[in-house]
Amino acid sequence: MHVCGKTLALGDDVSSDLLYPGKYLTVSDRAEQARHALEGFGEEWPERLRGHSVLSAGWNLGCGSSREQAATALLAAGVELVVARSMSRLFLRNCINNGLPVIESDELAAALADGMTLSADLASGTAQIAEREFRFQPLPDVLLAIVRDGGLLARLRRTSRQGT
């Protein structure tokens, strides 16, 4: 699995309240969720995210509430990869189980800044920023397979269609 895109960089301890404010919790339409991605930082942030397919952050990304819109709104807004020095357990699960790949790498996250283009191969654990090469610990196969399938719901849809 290969991802390449422009980066928007966030700081440390970015809570799920900042990624997706609680007042939009009842929004189930993904396109509408995308319009509120990162809105906790300010009303201009959903627009600022546009055109960035890589989101990077420092430590403890997505701490707090279990709301999965913190992940699905990013996905709907065109984010294809999240890189952080570390992530909260629930945010990490919500990304993977909704088919949004993640990389936890201190070195890679620290090197990323706004506007940088990152190219990463998720299975081999290799990445590139400009001419600089990085190696990271890839997700275990069992989780990469979920991401590759498009998340747990895609699996459920497939199972139901097969009538099992």
């Binding site: 609680g22 009842t26 189930s28 357990r89 699996r155």
Partner: protein, 418 residues
């Protein structure tokens, strides 16, 4: 032999497990709350899921916006009721019954040694009765309801050794804040926590619930008090037989690290805006004017918390210009507080007592903060925008500190009011 996490996940996955292993588990319960039921129903509809794997092990709690404040929330509630009837979900705890975690424990729905999921991050609260409680997202919950299981990684466990006893005017919330101050909000990420030591044994169920609740603020996946005499007494009062051993780690289990806290050294603390681990003493922020004082939430909305606040409020009045909102964690807490005269003390003091539930904590339906406002809250999170305006400031503190601050109109150490 294993820690409590290894033991419970081993049973739930049908074999022995090792730290770091990815396992497929079958939980004993998988709950959801009203802020997620809408998504689960939508996901099932889209995926063509027509029957649930184990409807008897599923439960729905209306607590995050109950009673509904908007047409959308009300429609989610009514669609959820129809969904529960359609799928034969008997455990629907409707508006007013209380916060899911509190209801689970006070009614003995869950038991030591069980693996329990809920689409709410504060499910770690259930560890107070020796249960591996952890949060899930909506898609995950929808998946568990449809298939019966899901993947988990077996976490390493941090042992927190508690010594000493809490002094008067200091409570379990202050101990949580002391842990956050000393170790930060990331210390237990992807890890389980077990509380041990004579200090742990000295704590009652309400204090244990508070400590396990805030385990998730330390990053933990689950936070547990191994079952003991206090656990046994809790279930015995409910007339529910339990297996205490199922909620205890093996004697020779190995821990990633130990963290020590002497409860006797803890003093009234507060988490400052906008981070749970930016913690200092209440004395250091004393005098900051407040607009709202919130007493409630799954962290501190229990009878013991209301009692501590009432002891401060008795014979006093909430300061002019301050609103104090009290939200009992459950209908049982509300009823007990009424019987003890606590509600009378609070309303006489000018506090507002609301329907049991999550209250103002998540900023979803009542007690929302306006621009520039300052709130002192007994809840567990003070992230920017959490309770309403992103330009509001939230201080987290104990129920006694919240009550003392409401009376003075400024952040106040409760020990000063005797």
């Amino acid at each position: 032999m294993g820690t409590l996490a290894e033991k419970i996940l081993g049973r739930a996955s049908g074999g022995r497990v090792a730290v770091g292993q990815y396992v497929e588990v079958t939980p004993d319960w998988c709950f959801t709350v009203d802020d997620t039921i809408g998504l689960i129903m939508k996901y099932h509809l889209e995926a063509g899921v027509t029957r649930l794997a184990a409807p008897a092990r599923v439960g729905i709690f209306y607590d995050h916006y109950a009673p509904a404040d908007s047409r959308e929330h009300a429609s989610d509630h009514s669609a959820g009721r129809a969904y529960a009837r359609q799928h034969g979900i008997a455990h629907l705890f409707d508006v007013g019954q209380g916060i899911s975690h509190q209801v689970c424990v006070e009614r003995g729905l869950i038991a030591p040694g069980q693996l329990v999921f809920n689409s709410d991050s504060h499910t770690t609260t259930l560890g107070a009765v020796g249960c591996f409680g952890t949060g899930l997202g909506a898609a995950e919950t929808a998946y568990v309801w449809a298939t019966g299981g899901i993947w988990l990684r077996v976490p390493p466990t941090i042992r927190i050794l508690l010594t000493g006893t809490l002094r008067p005017g200091v409570d379990a919330k202050d101990a949580c804040l002391a842990l956050l101050r000393a170790h930060g909000a990331r210390v237990a990420t992807y890890r389980a926590i077990e509380f041990h030591g004579e200090g742990a044994a000295s704590l009652g169920m309400a204090s244990r619930l508070t400590l396990c609740n805030m385990g998730v603020e330390l990053g933990a996946k689950a936070a547990m008090f191994p079952a003991d005499a206090v656990t046994a007494e809790h279930f015995s009062r409910l007339g529910i037989p339990i297996d205490v051993e199922a909620g205890r780690p093996d004697a020779d289990s190995s821990y990633e690290r130990d963290i020590a806290l002497n409860l006797s050294d803890v003093e009234p603390l507060a988490a400052y805006p906008h981070a749970v681990d930016d913690v200092g003493t209440v004395r250091d922020v004393a005098g900051i004017a407040i607009n709202q004082a919130f007493l409630g939430s799954c962290t501190n909305g229990r009878l013991e918390d209301l009692r501590a606040a009432a002891a401060v409020l008795k014979g006093r009045h909430v300061a002019p210009g301050v609103r104090m909102i009290v939200t009992p964690a459950s209908s049982q807490v509300f009823a007990a507080a009424l019987r003890e005269g606590i509600i009378d003390i609070m309303t006489t003091a000018g506090a507002i007592v609301t329907t049991p539930g999550c209250g103002a904590c998540a900023g979803l339906h009542l007690g929302v903060l306006g621009d520039g406002e300052v709130c002192i809250s007994s809840s567990s999170r003070n992230f920017r925008g959490r309770m309403g305006s992103p330009n509001a400031a939230i201080y987290l503190a104990s129920p006694a500190t919240v009550a003392a601050s409401a009376v003075v109109g400024r952040i106040t150490d409760p020990r000063l009011l005797g």
